[in-house]
Symmetry: D3
Subunit: 329 residues, 6 copies
């Protein structure tokens, strides 16, 4: 296990108050990729882009507000007692380049960044951005499909629609159909939790079912409870490499009003925390928290919720480094 000395530590709120200082994720140092390649185990990354959004844009502003709210996070997990900054070297790697007026260019820019992350052997924990960003992230992390990921996916929507406006294949409603088609995501190792909201048509659910995705609608969720759902999630993803994708609209909009496509009747933050904690020990390769949209969030609560979920995932990733070894060992 790593000693304290060789890892970056968040700036202490007991030295510099939490409202002070330039906000980085979790008050960690901002490190460039070259240095990160040598030193960093877990990279916190922003993807400030919402070009795939078909209704209410705004998630491009998510990473900045999440960095701001992340200054309220602390150092150790109050249930598991995990100390991520003692197990792994973590840093804020800044934002990926994006192009707000060109969708395909943006997908390309994001994919290249995450391919470099993959090549540098860094586990990414990403703040979005709309959900389409998970597609190029997955492409990068799988070296363009040289292997397939499993996924634990929290969302109100399956995001497996096909086309939009006739012929458009890439929107924030389509990333996981594309990821399956393009070979980055294994549908049989994919579970979607919290799905709800009206259907465009009763055929909406057919494609995913046919691929073998395990979909847990909110009604089934409320019957099973978080513990059994997590058992099921662990069964589905198994021992293979697994990604966590957390769309904040999985939560009830009272917990995450600042999002593009709210659906009433969703998860509580407490249950979401319970479920994330239940993923400990999986073969995780990274995760993201997406669809935080500050223009629709007038108290900062959505971003606070988002970064608290990032801290939960960070603890999981750090436990893996603790168990598997750090670059700095």
């Amino acid at each position: 296990m790593a000693s304290n000395d060789k890892f970056y530590r968040p700036v202490s709120g007991n030295v510099l108050p939490r409202f002070a200082g330039i906000p980085t994720f979790m008050r960690l140092p901002n490190v460039d990729l070259a240095r990160a390649s040598r030193e960093v185990d877990i990279g916190l990354i922003g993807v400030p882009w919402d070009g795939g959004t078909t209704n209410r844009a705004g998630a491009r502003h998510g990473p900045r507000q999440m960095r701001d709210q992340s200054t309220m996070m602390r150092n150790a997990h109050h249930v598991s007692f995990t100390k991520p900054y003692e197990y792994a070297n973590c840093a804020d790697l800044g934002d990926t380049p994006v192009n707000p007026v060109d969708l395909m260019d943006s997908l390309n820019l994001i994919e290249k960044f995450f391919h470099a992350i993959y090549a540098a052997n860094i586990m990414p924990l990403t703040a979005g951005g709309d959900h389409l960003i998970t597609l190029p992230i997955m492409k990068g992390l799988t070296n363009s499909g040289s292997f397939k990921l499993g996924m634990v996916h929290f969302d109100a929507h399956t995001d497996t629609w096909d086309r939009y406006f006739g012929d458009f294949k890439y929107t924030h409603g389509t990333p996981f159909r594309r990821a399956i088609e393009e070979g980055y995501l294994d549908p049989k190792r994919t579970i979607q939790i919290g799905i709800r909201g009206g259907l465009y048509s009763v055929d909406d659910q057919k494609w995913g079912n046919a691929q073998g995705i395990r979909v847990i609608h909110i009604e089934e969720y409320n019957e099973l409870g978080p513990e059994k759902v997590i058992e099921e999630a662990r069964r589905v993803v198994g021992v293979g490499p697994t990604y966590i994708s957390f769309d904040v609209d999985a939560l009830d909009p009272v917990y995450a009003p600042g999002t593009g496509t709210p659906e009433i009747g969703g998860l509580t933050t407490f249950d979401a925390q319970i479920m994330l904690r239940g993923l400990a020990g999986l073969n995780l390769v990274g995760g993201d928290v997406v669809e935080v949209s500050p223009p629709f969030d007038n108290t900062g609560l959505t971003a606070l919720t988002g970064v608290t979920m990032m801290f939960e995932i960070l603890c999981l990733l750090a436990e893996k480094v603790r168990d598997m070894g750090s670059k700095n060992d």
Copy 2:
């Protein structure tokens, strides 16, 4: 069962984005009453009036914001797979006339409108407005008391107070005492769910109890759970004609902050949805969602919640048309 062709359909978000276009309820066509009399089975109607409000006004702005948020609704129910727009001809019938500076004139105007709806054999689904509007709606729908309605009533308050400021009989705290006295509502076929909040005096509950209204306070609700409460509701209203009145303050104010008289400790939206779904098959004649007050709702969540409840009720009404036949069959 009705074919697709003869009914109006909502404008698809895949053709015109959800933020585009002139907002009508559910993106349905706006049809005048003359045409609706011939063609429409279920009429979505706004009553933009809050002249009965004794504390915080604002519900007069409810229908407009609910139309706006209703552009996010979809076509089929994700649990029951009900497809309302394939079972019934639905349209936005616009707003009733109202008079913001004359209470009695407004009650009269609203009653006339709903009497015409009754005469046209249209089932109304109404967006308020404060809760006093349900009184003239009931008068209209019962042809001034030629028969009595049962009611499933979601609310934090019984709305069966008697007088206000000495001698004033008509406020948003009195509609159901008046409706019972004037013969539109059968108290023995009335159930009130979610009641809570401090009392003016310990006698507050006497009148309703004496009439035989079944009151389920939030404490009893939380013991029974939504399924048993709905069993009780079905027992109370029986097979007679039944109206659903949904005051958004039945919900906890976190789900519906934009309302005139919030009371903490209320229903969740999920449980409310479960209960509304449980009313399937009753002999429904219409419903309303009231007390959405945009000036006190700074994210639009209350209106989104309101229109989602309207969609739940719409599915119930459409199922009745499916089973009983449409005008257009």
Copy 3:
């Protein structure tokens, strides 16, 4: 001069309160293009699109909120006594189709719509949308450059930048360079009023100057005052066909906080009104009010300001119909 009877009239606030009813522009009827071709002189149109926005998106929501606030407008101008609805047949023609995830497709869709408006001999008054929409509007209105427009342009920015992110030619910072290059806009008949804000580099102003655009920075504006600026505007645009483009960021952000790129130290609404009134009698072919961004406007003031400017422009266009004759004469 047209009689009252043959023209559409706004719904009176004395019959239906201003908070009631489905909001169309100025409470006018919503008419489809086929009918409008035969009957309508001036078409009020929404272009709900912000895909050209490089920083803060949100103007896609502009037309809806502007329709809502336009319900507060009245029938006659309090200074000129112009009565637009007695001079011309005006209607809400709805929103153009747009594609929120494809910039080039959207430009094409908008251009086609406005080419149809041109072909139907309707004068358009448009609510945006970000400023890039003016490019396809101009293409449509000039029949792809079969003649050139002059322009009175109110803005904090010249919007004549060249490229973005290397090679991207179409953003809300480039429409007027493109319009000049592509032959829809005559730079020598173009005046830009209210320009201010830091420069990317001191070369920013060279291209426009070389083309012969008359740029009135806010400093010159404040020295000259609105009357002299309008004299200059009339001199610049002369007697040729002229378009008015009003970016709400021309105004000081206190009057228009809900916009993507606010610049402090701008025009007052009163002065803007004075200037618009000063354009009476020009050979106007249409106009737009753009960059109203509701997610950044928490009181509705920006939209109210926008529609009041639309009413000012509407009076100008209606005076032209009065003088030149209506379709319905």
Copy 4:
């Protein structure tokens, strides 16, 4: 001149911070009418009622928020050096009774209260409430028309419309037609400053003109400037008893966003202050600040502006007591 000892003084912010304590107007003591009759020269009064509002209600909440913001006011005028609390005995007389669901009852209740104020020889300074409240205030203060008032009236609207919804005579758009008809207000001693906004019809201005009201539209105002306008106001009202009525919508909505009927292009607060100061020495009998509507005011600025205007008027009234003598002399 009165000595300091016999008058009430505001609680000092140097003793109890301005955010502390129960908020009364100007931090003065709350005194009942019986005691006030004996001791008080100037009574600060709330009329929390907006039953005359035809569009956006909310001014019923005005007095409470104005009391809250008034805790930021200080003791002496920084230009005139007037010290109102050393010249006159001032107190918060609380709110008048009102009935939110009965317009005519409310007018009666308000009139009775102000008749008592008249009988008690107290000069009232009132915080509204919508503008209809000025009608019963004037009835009370003139002993039901036993003499007529002159008026300096700041407003965007003349409030001299006749009827609404056919036959309704009492709305916040009609008080001054009624006050003239019923004999409380002398139109020839009435001046209206800041009038603007679209007209219902070009006849809107005829009635007032025929009565001899001096109307200064915003355009004339901006040509004359505040000093000359005040000269004109002094000429119009002359030496007779005069009332000041300040509707905050006279101001540009950037200074007073929280109001029911905002009109762009209005007065600045500084100019309004200059004009109020210019009324020194008139034969004033009272004043009001109306149409502050907190639900539409999300920063408190409108209420702060309103109470600053109240402080300006208070200084004028106190100067009269200084010159004419206090009850307590």
Copy 5:
């Protein structure tokens, strides 16, 4: 039991609407301490101070907004039927003096005020203010430690940290360590409910455990449920004198967004109400509701929640007066 006549009663909303009048706690009379000493059993008190806040200040504005929202409270408890104003003489005793720029002076001022409350035999129910205020309150109420209190403490944080910024002993994170050290609070009769959120270090919990404080983390809470937690609370505090301290951040931030240190995943308001009701019959000496911070609360919900909790505690205190006798008996 006390008769109705000798006690103060809240102003009825049926006489003066709830939006009218100068807001005191629960619409009770504002009584000075001299009179209260003779007459009042339960004093409602504001402590408008947040000088101990290490991150987001604002709780200094809490008492004023809580008074405002308290105008919506009613007279009798809808579950227990407790009628506090018939059992005890209750009054608003105003705000304690505080010094916003001197921490130690403020602690001293607050302690003196509460020592006088103690000496006057009044039970205090206090609205904060940040949580550091509970330290001087306890010092005052225990006559500087002449006896020790037990405490039922609702909070997300234990508030038993030691020092801040090196050597600073008094912040809103330290009151209960100080209260134990200084001898006002008995740790073995202290229970903390709702604790959660990341740790500064894994040693955070050691000190409290060593003292014997019973800490119920949110995870244990959610397993036990409110009824068993209250059983445990009653066991811990026993029959000795007991204080209730309710930090609104114990609640999930959706119920109390307006607070300085929100932590997601907290209590519901309903469960908090159940727990407070479960404290009936304890030997209570007072209570407080703290950390309501209006600048971070944009709907007033946090203050409404706070005052509803105050009403729950008020009923408990009044029941004790009913059973033990009032000063006025």
Copy 6:
């Protein structure tokens, strides 16, 4: 004159969109003091502290929001064509240490930081924080009074009060009395512009007048206009070392609603810009923009205004470096 290569440059918005990236002042690099001592000419610094605030706290959050909004600033001045980043090496030096619960400790920490800035020969441009921070800044910059500064001071208040709550000498109302008494500020070379708002007593202005401070009340300002006021300012401060202190409450609150002590009737941003530009060529040693309080600023406009003023001052400071030489020459 310095070439481009040796200086830091802001990240271009054409490379990384303005909403992307970790926000530093003006998108400049964040440099520590050791390196800055060698390389930096002008240091942008945050002082996140509001412990001197007697009413509404919140300015502690100012530097973070100002950094965020500063990402919208550009590279060259659009009037003077000044290119600050080509004339001087500018960097973000981070925030000073502060102690939110200890006023005197904070003053000491701030003073030490600015003494180091002085010793390192860096010109500071500071974002506050409340206005008390200017006192320790001045102490640091004058090497504890080894020479005296002149000051151009924009403010609604003179900030020369003496004591508060009896004996407290240090609040945000007293910095300039203390600075004069302690020998850092020369009152005869001090001008205060924009002063207004009610007085505590008519003696408020005596002390400053006696010291020889030139006070320009808003009324005098509006008579003279910005150009003459600046002439007077240049006369007053002369050729000695001069500091610019810009309290955003100098502006009318419509431009700067997010501030602790708003006073209506203030400066426009345009006039403030004109005045700042008029200070070119003075012997400037630094400047600050203070009292931006994000919790009271719900659109970000106050921070945008603040950073635009910082850019104006930055250009002045950079011109001095251009003329006097850079460290890097």
